[in-house]
Amino acid sequence: MAEEQLIQEIVSGNTLAFKTLMEKYQERVFHVAMGFVHLKEDAEDLTQEVFIKVYQSLSTFNHDSEFSTWLYRITINTCINFVNRNRKKRVLQSIEDVWQSAFNQYDKEKTPLEKLITSERNLLIKKAIDSLSEKQRSAFILSKYEELPQKEIAAIMNTTEGAVEQLLQRAKNNLQKKLNRP
């Protein structure tokens, strides 16, 4: 079924059509959410929140843009709001994750010391990504996690391709600065 027809069916109340649409885009939404929250459970909660919002506001989608563009916009905004709401809780969660993954008994390939080093490095990377500005972070996640072209990112963020290129360059520089600091 073509996407437009699918959307029409959903607006008419066909929940099976909504399930089809959700299965098509679920993984993309989940990966973007992972880029923002770095936790599987939080990313799942965000994915649910995004699709509920989509279901509630699908009748207002006026086909000015692609459905995926509209969906990514909702995802980005929902993720940013979630991160801002739960800032303190997430700092503690990240520290807990370092210890958990360091003592993960199921990863037999690395020694405990290697696991600890990897966990701490990942924590630093997470913190560095989280410290980027909202726009830089959004552009970075769409580019690196979803591998979207700059043209599509510009449509999602409602800006120009040049601005997206600048945002990505600044994000890259900021990350290197933060991670290369002694």
């Binding site: 109340g13 959700m22 599987k40 994915t47 699709f51 990942n122 990377i125 997470k126 690196k144």
Partner: protein, 97 residues
Amino acid sequence: MRTENFIDDFIRDEKQTEPNPFLTTRIMAEVEKMQQTEIKIVPWWQIVVFVASIVAVVFLGITLGNSYINPISQEITMNINDNEIENFGYYSLNSHE
């Protein structure tokens, strides 16, 4: 370059994370719950009309009650038939022979 490799490795690991296979079921359950809630919600204007109609009926009842006039007069009148009254003079005499 090494930093970039670490970042790429980190992102690759996160991208390999897969969502719970029951996530779709969970979201559909939430959607169906929402649909049922939508049916039960009464529009606010219906509630307002309902309350206003009760108030109007009570007010009408009070107004009707207050406008009722009792046909029976509250004043007390005395109908005295002079022919049947006993001569009170009898009670003032000392003897009644």
